[in-house]
Symmetry: C2
Subunit: 254 residues, 2 copies
Amino acid sequence: MIKVIILGSGNVGTHLFKAFKNNIDIEITQWFSRDLKNINQYSDVVKITDELNELEVADVYILAINDDSINELSSKLPFTNRLVCHTSGSKSINELDSKNRQAIFYPLQTFSKDSEIDFTKIPLCLESFSSKDMNLLKNIATTLNCDYYEISSVQREKLHLAAVFVNNFTNHLFTIAKEITDESNIDFNILKPLISETVQKIYKLDPKEAQTGPAVRNDKETINKHIQDLKSNDHKQLYKLMTSLINNLDHEKL
Amino acid sequence: MIKVIILGSGNVGTHLFKAFKNNIDIEITQWFSRDLKNINQYSDVVKITDELNELEVADVYILAINDDSINELSSKLPFTNRLVCHTSGSKSINELDSKNRQAIFYPLQTFSKDSEIDFTKIPLCLESFSSKDMNLLKNIATTLNCDYYEISSVQREKLHLAAVFVNNFTNHLFTIAKEITDESNIDFNILKPLISETVQKIYKLDPKEAQTGPAVRNDKETINKHIQDLKSNDHKQLYKLMTSLINNLDHEKL
């Protein structure tokens, strides 16, 4: 039985709690939140606390808190030489105070508090300074049935950058598409099967090989019509830049 | 029984043939290709021809050909007043010669010749100048079990533009992400569950509501680190532009 204490009650903390609580190999020793009202509803099934001094002994302390609070909270922990990890995509392992054994337990997924997530589908990026600690993290990943990868802090920064492209920027392209369809009284739902197929293709093909469309064909008539059709100058600029990147053109010439 | 003649043997023509050939309500009267060797392998199950003069009588002629050939081929058809439609996302209904009854049968999907597609998941955008012709197109859509939408040529141009954003540009974001992970020896597969979840969210939330990430949080430290980490100036510019669009900022100031 692995004893885990979760610190933080945001999206990641809450999803970790739900994933751990029905797992027979894991005991959630405590759940810490600065604000108890966030987790009061779970007080029947887990010991909750808002006092760092009340933290009990556990095999691992998982800090699922704001990036900017990691350093401060990890320094305030009233113990040393225990395994403490954070769950951030962008912060180095050294953001954690070195008085404890530092590690990373980063679930690479986009979390919303309200939406259910199948935790087994989330890849975990793990990092630690000792093979013993790494083994404990791998055991947790295995018991959750998750894929896991050993990823250094330098790699994790690059991975987070790549994640911004595939998640945040992709989602904004969907937002722009919805603006375009809304303006013309077209049901945005028409586009959803195309969006799903766009993603399905990455499971079969390298995205570079899967590229289609007017940019890759260098279909200037369509490209120019599209640029004209866009209302916002920023969207025109984005269209030109993406088209030039796809076609390896100098976009200033479009 | 609806009699259909397909003209064209590219991705769309081939997928239409496969969708029609097992359909008990549709008879593929003929399949035309300028180059018979593209469709010779199907000559056991369908009459094939490369001669417009040999085209038989059918209820509808579907031109699944290059955008730029629609006008010329439709003028060369050796008959008048029959129902002729094209399958292009970007060309107007008037691209078809008006000696026949013009219509549109546009499957909004990204086709690769080799990948199997469940045609029932493809929304069909239909347009015609008479309700009788529209009803025939709707009957075909219904017999294929497809969702269909009446979309004017003006709307279809906007829809095609929106499709470029959600399909072509999104796929290029995946390409950039793979470049970033490849450079750091990170397995691109780590990102696939995140990509799938990004898309799943549009079935539950308006994409604007689903937006997350450093741009929407205006997390300047992460944003600046990411811009530094990108190697190509075009990618830096794209990052700045997307970030400013997400955050409604003036991207020149980033």
